[in-house]
């Protein structure tokens, strides 16, 4: 059936059509932008961390008794944790990746003031750090026991060797020859250290920082009353080991208490909580708006069917088959939807432009628009199906009824 007579019928009855088209247009604009933002956030959350996030947990131990000896306690705790069934490895650390708190500093390729530096995120570990984080060493070697520096909390010494992530190595040495090179840490590049290893990837503390993957591992352990341990377990045993480890540590030393035994996944979830919230809220909004629009189409299509019972009967009497009637309403709706999506595409770009300008939202990727158009076409056809089928059931004998 040709479009022209349907179009002219629709145009002569335009208020309902305009309302639905406008509604579809705004829906398209919202859905495009919302789904785009959702995907952007989910992509961010889903970036590889380089670590065995799902099987790692963190323990904080705080010594409070005057007799508490941090170095002894740490050694005992480490031996105990590493010997626990289900534990792959454990290490003392200063800061927790993905947690939002950490040690940010800069590395330079030359010493001296005013040298261009690359900011990065320093994590202290001992020789077990690589394995406990589940990092993949792609070049060089791990730290040796004799390279581990023991410091108290005030100390500002820096070790002679570091392991850096691929991202940090490439940033410092764009030619890819970072291994074995010397880097300078701290203000004025006071501390020289040799890169002895490169790990494929390790996300740092601040998940929304552009330098997230520029991490540096420094072989330091601190002898202070506040310490953190990272523990990596065999897959699937994290929660059980977490509980057992807490109990063991709680009772092993009366001069301290254990707090914040939490999984690394938990820290990550908290860091991304607002992104997850945004994605979830936008998801709900998208689902609701599609529902509302679908109901709007159903409502107005029903109205339009009810208004045209007589003419449907007449068409049937004049030889229209049921499927001709269904097709009529489908095509009519499809045309209205199409007008809506055309206007909506422009609106989507406009809304995005506005979001980009006012808020820190990325510009929309073009293919979201055709996908959304397709989705709205399908939604429109599904929504109009009910009223259209009802229209097809109008008996042709209606035509001879006088009222």
């Amino acid at each position: 059936m040709a479009l022209h007579p349907i179009l002219s019928a629709t145009l002569r009855n335009k208020t309902g059509a305009i309302l639905i088209a406008l509604q579809i247009a705004i829906t398209l604009a919202i859905v495009c932008n919302a789904v785009f933002i959702i995907n952007e956030r989910l992509d961010q959350i889903g970036r590889p961390t380089g670590m065995d996030v799902d099987n790692i947990f963190v323990i904080q131990s705080v010594g409070f008794s005057p007799k508490y000896n941090p170095a002894d306690a740490r050694r005992m705790d480490m031996d105990m944790l590493r010997a626990m069934p289900g534990v792959v490895d454990a290490a003392p650390i200063s800061d927790i990746p993905l947690s939002g708190g950490g040690w940010g500093d800069a590395l330079a390729t030359k010493p001296g003031e005013g040298v261009s530096e690359q900011s990065g995120n320093i994590f202290t570990v001992d020789t077990h750090g690589l394995n406990a984080f589940g990092l993949k060493l792609v070049a060089g070697r791990n730290f040796r026991p004799d390279e581990i520096l023991e410091e108290d909390s005030q100390s500002t010494d820096f070790p002679k060797v570091v392991i850096v992530t691929r991202a940090m190595a490439d940033k410092l040495f764009p030619n890819g020859d970072a291994l074995g090179k010397t880097v300078y840490e701290g203000a004025g590049g006071r501390h020289a250290a040799t890169i002895i290893g490169i790990v494929e990837r390790m996300q740092g503390a601040w998940v929304h920082w552009t330098g997230l993957e520029r991490s540096v591992l420094a072989p330091i352990v601190y002898n202070q009353s506040f310490t953190r341990y990272i523990v990596r377990t065999e897959p699937g045993r994290r929660d059980a080991v977490m509980q057992a480890a807490r109990q063991k540590l709680d009772t092993s030393n009366p001069g301290r208490f254990i707090q914040k035994v939490r999984s690394l996944a938990d820290y990550r979830a908290k860091s991304y909580a607002d992104d997850t919230a945004m994605a979830t809220m936008l998801g709900v909004v998208t689902a609701l708006i599609l529902t509302i629009t679908a109901f709007g189409i159903v409502g107005l299509a029903s109205f339009s069917v009810n208004q045209r019972i007589k003419q449907i009967g007449t068409r049937r009497a004049l030889g229209a088959r049921r499927r001709d009637i269904v097709r009529y309403f489908m095509i009519e709706n499809w045309m209205i939807t199409s007008i809506g999506v055309v206007v909506g595409s422009a609106l989507a770009v406009g809304v995005n432009f506005w979001l980009v300008n006012l808020f820190s939202i990325e510009p929309l990727t073009w293919y979201y628009i055709p996908v959304a158009i397709l989705a709205l076409w399908v939604l429109g056809l599904l929504a109009v199906m009910g009223p259209a089928l009802r229209a097809a059931r109008v008996p042709p004998a209606i035509a001879t009824r006088t009222v």
Binding site: Q154, M281, V285, I292, I361
Partner: protein, 433 residues
């Protein structure tokens, strides 16, 4: 007449229950979504201290090294500058403060020691920020720098340690020192936590407060943000205090514009003086920002929540279009009745009012439904957002706003359809189609 209109409206609502439910549902969802996002926005952007927000200023000094690239000076001061400003006493009130972690040894032996967050501050902190006391009072001004071991407990910590009883005068062991409790706060949780935007905009109030003068004797370290411009010192605590590491928040109370101007002059002359001894290598860029400016400067209202409000309002637009369509459908279906009433002598304005009463009823029902949805939505937000509890609860203002918005939206949605149907000539409806 209004009662008659109400009755007619109710009959009409009942006549098309599905259409009515659809209309009420569309408005309810629109209102629910907008109220949820607006509430979050409203609570995020709230003024936590409205009567004094123009008198309290956060102090910024640009003590950074030449290489620093950001356009804004640091949000915190280093120890040397903080001490200098403190000792100058140029403001009506002033406080230098930061947070630290302390081991609390509960007086009841069955409780294990635990870490508490302490705010290290000056006694002016309490009157400046209008902190309410349940028991006792702030410590004496004299104790600010005397090294006196006195503490003010938060309501929650007092609850935890002393079961909420008046603990003023009791002693409490913090770390390896014994403190005397001088005050207990009434529940206090300014939203946003404007006095410390460095560490979590919507976080909880600290567990306890101790005098700034304890920094050196206890070698306290900030557990909040520390930004170093240049070396972090020689490894000793004194070295750290003398370094260009910024970790102290500095607030002043300046009641008048003149006070503000003279304080600014004071800051500039202080920095000029420091320049002479080789500090402050950058051009003069000192700032005093009042609470509102400070909240904006620190982007307390997240872009996400603004974007959500924008999208939610568009969403409400869709719901309204939807409702206009449905109301139009409904009114047009009733055309013969309108024709009859017109033929029987009803004036247009009377019918118009009848329709507006009807959409008003739909609006109120939609608004109530919307509040229910908003309540559900905020419950969801509380579980989703970090510190959501503070910024996701309905207050009476938002309840009223939601109902008004629903009423306005539905009446706005009803005006066109009502106008459309009453505009036709009465005969047009009576004629058999």
């Amino acid at each position: 007449m209004f009662i008659y209109n109400l009755r007619l409206a109710w009959l009409s609502v009942r006549r098309n229950p599905i259409l009515s439910v659809l209309m009420v549902g569309a408005i309810a969802i629109g209102i629910g979504v907008s109220t949820t996002t607006l509430t979050v926005y409203h609570l995020m952007s709230g003024n936590p201290i409205p009567d004094k927000s123009n008198q309290l200023y956060a102090v910024q000094l640009d003590s950074r090294s030449k290489e620093a690239t950001s356009t804004d000076p640091p949000t915190q001061l280093n120890y040397r500058d903080a001490m200098a400003l403190m000792h100058a006493h140029r403001a009506t009130r002033q406080t230098a403060d930061y947070i630290t972690s302390l081991v609390v040894h509960p007086p009841r032996v069955e409780q294990k020691p635990f870490y508490a967050v302490a705010r290290v501050a000056l006694s002016d902190f309490f009157p400046m920020f209008e902190v309410p006391f349940q028991y006792g009072s702030p410590w004496e001004k004299a104790d600010d720098e005397s090294g006196a071991q006195v503490a003010v407990l938060s309501h929650d910590l007092n609850q935890k340690l002393f079961g909420g009883a008046n603990s003023v005068g009791k002693s409490l062991q913090l770390g390896d020192r014994t403190f005397r409790i001088v005050g207990v706060l009434a529940p206090w949780s300014p939203t946003p936590k404007f006095y410390d935007l460095e560490n979590n905009h919507f976080g909880d109030t600290e567990d306890l407060f101790i005098p700034f003068g304890l920094t050196v004797p206890m070698q306290l370290q900030s557990s909040g943000n520390t930004n170093c411009y240049g070396s972090a010192g020689d490894g000793t605590f004194t070295g750290f205090l003398n370094s260009e590491c910024n970790w102290i928040q500095f607030w002043v109370e300046l009641p008048t514009q003149a006070d503000r101007d003279s304080y600014m002059q004071f800051l500039n002359s202080y920095v000029q003086e420091q320049k002479r001894v080789g500090r402050f290598p950058r051009p003069l860029d000192n700032r005093l920002q009042n609470v509102t400016e400070w909240l904006n400067f620190n982007h307390v209202v997240s872009d996400d929540s603004r974007a959500l409000v924008a999208l939610a309002l568009l969403f409400l637009g869709v719901c309204m279009l939807n409702t206009i369509g449905l109301i139009l459908a409904k009114f047009l279906r009733r055309s013969p009745e309108i024709g009859l009433r017109r033929a029987l002598g009803a004036r247009r304005s009377v019918l118009f009012r009848q329709y507006l009463v009807e959409v008003g009823i739909i609006g109120v029902a939609g608004g109530l439904g919307g509040l229910l949805l908003a309540w559900l939505g905020l419950w969801g937000v509380r579980n989703l957002i970090s510190d959501g509890a503070r910024i996701a609860h309905l207050d009476w203002l938002m309840v009223g706003a939601a109902l008004l918005l629903a009423l306005a939206a539905s009446i706005a949605a009803g005006i066109y359809p009502a106008w459309r149907v009453i505009r036709m000539a009465p005969a047009a409806y009576l004629k058999v189609q």
